[in-house]
């Protein structure tokens, strides 16, 4: 069989996946706190080609060839979305630019716009990210950037999806007084009506944000909290809770449109390659040997 036929088919499937990911981003272009995902493709492991049937019995190597590609992972981009003012007392935007110290040099890593820092040895360090901590009905802890909270009739602070928002004592927060009188300072601390400090929103920091798995309903889940490096915020961390604002989606619609077209055309190119292979096969099967 011609090797390239399956390579092209793998290319089509991969481009379909890429297209799916971009569509998901486009669908969430207006979703509060949504973080864009990018599909990462990887070539199949290389195989060594050898010439067979030469003069000597030992086969002579020709070279290496990749026989396809697959969509390996969806990498979220945790860049800060814009904070949009809503004026509602139960809307919160998390604005964070967390720093991480390099244990070898003692200096902070310098992160680029996409939130990563590439070291001299080629390893990549990702910027820690901050999240609101919420809990679903089954008691599972989840993380979200979507601060579109609500206070229900019983006073519980909930996400739009009904997850309880946790405080620094790991218990769900309840709002005592009137919702329109709610005051929260820039560290997420509820300020009581007499000016004293009330409970505080638990802001969790993920040192390995890529270890968080998107769970739908606007939240992320840490399948392995240790691997994700989840900690409560350290004092003095560079983050701010903005009451009366919401973080918009960080999807770049122009980029998404270009990615969409690219995926479609690359899919088309692979489809054409399959057709060319088909023509070659046609010749091999039907024309060679015709009298």
């Amino acid at each position: 069989m011609l090797r390239g036929l399956y390579t092209a088919a793998a290319g089509m499937i991969t481009q379909q996946r890429l297209h799916d990911t971009v569509t998901q981003n486009i669908a969430n272009v207006n979703t509060t706190g949504y973080k864009q995902v990018n599909s990462v493709a990887r070539s199949f492991p290389e195989v060594l080609l050898s010439a067979v049937g030469g003069k000597q019995n030992s086969s002579a190597p020709i070279g290496k060839l990749n026989t396809g590609v697959f969509a390996e992972e969806t990498l979220p981009t945790f860049t800060q979305g814009d904070a949009r003012e809503t004026g509602k007392t139960t809307d919160f935007a998390l604005v964070a630019d967390l720093q991480l110290q390099n244990p070898d040099t003692g200096e902070n890593y310098v992160f680029d716009a996409s939130g990563k820092s590439v070291q001299e040895d080629g390893s990549v360090v990702y910027q820690p990210q901050a999240f609101f901590t919420v809990r679903d009905a089954e008691g599972n802890v989840k993380y979200t950037r979507d601060g579109d909270f609500h206070v229900d009739a019983a006073g519980r602070l909930l996400t739009a999806e009904g997850y309880e928002v946790l405080g620094t004592d790991n218990n769900p927060l309840t709002i005592g007084g009137a919702v329109d009188q709610l005051k929260v300072d820039n560290q997420g601390r509820i300020v009581n009506s007499d000016g004293t400090n009330g409970p505080q929103l638990l802001i969790s920091v993920a040192n390995q944000p890529n270890q968080l798995v998107r769970d739908g309903n606007g939240v992320f889940e840490a399948a392995d909290p240790a691997a994700a490096g989840i900690n409560p915020t350290a004092a003095g961390a560079q983050l701010e809770v903005r009451q009366g604002s919401l973080e918009t989606s960080n999807v770049d619609s122009a980029q998404a449109m270009v990615d969409l077209m690219t995926a479609q055309r690359a899919y088309e190119a692979n489809q054409q390659v399959i057709q060319y292979y088909d023509k070659s096969l046609d010749k091999a099967v039907n024309e060679i040997g015709r009298v």
Partner: protein
Amino acid sequence: MNNSMISSMVSLGSLQQRLDLLADNIANLNTNGYKSKDASFVDTLTRVQQQAKDMTQLTGRSTPSGYNLGFGAKMSGLSLDFTQGEIKDTGLPTDLAIQGNALFRVRAADGSDAWTRVGDFQLHPDPANPGQAALVTSQGYSVLDTTGQPVSVPANSKLQIAADGTLTVTDATGTFDFGQLQLDYVNRPEGLVELTDNMYGLVSGAVQGDVLTAVDTLADGDPRLNKVSVRQGALEQSNVDLSKEMTDMLQVQRAYQLSARALTSSEAMMNMANHLRG
């Protein structure tokens, strides 16, 4: 159907819902006491596609195993925006506008309490007490006073309502005090649900004392106390902000186009797959 098609279809559906909501708001631009509605959106349930075992943790990979796929965005909740609408003078003594976050208490058709923000009240002859006139909403529901009784005043008298809702009636024989209109401060707007005829009721299971607090029972020094007042001879307009609604509509329209474009594109890809064989 492929994943792109599902994602774009789901998001087209939810964008349509958002547009319906905006249309509802814009339609009520001139409805007295109308409170605009707002929708929240979240991404929908995600599926993690498992990969072949030897492909799960290759070097250089930075996320946990599996390939994460989502299915668009959905509307997750609706909320009422209780911000103050503009107050317009009408000069009619039975038109009342509330300044601040409170509601009038009225009696619904089934005898239970309901709340309204619309103060275009009228005086109707009271069938129970000839010679008296009952204060009712424009749909005919009785307005309640602080004792929980429907407000009833002598017919053909002059009605005066103070900022705290106190009723004073002047007729040929003199000036009399006629109680106080019941005003309830809205602590938790999400505990209210829209009923017919511009009224709100409590959501099922909600405790009235949690959701609302009677303004006349607020202690001195409570910050909520000075924030509520009634203005006679005026009506509160809708709090719909047309420029915001139009901006949102533009945004929805563009997002719709973008999703429709993604749908066209995945349709084209499906077509290509169908035409692989010539």
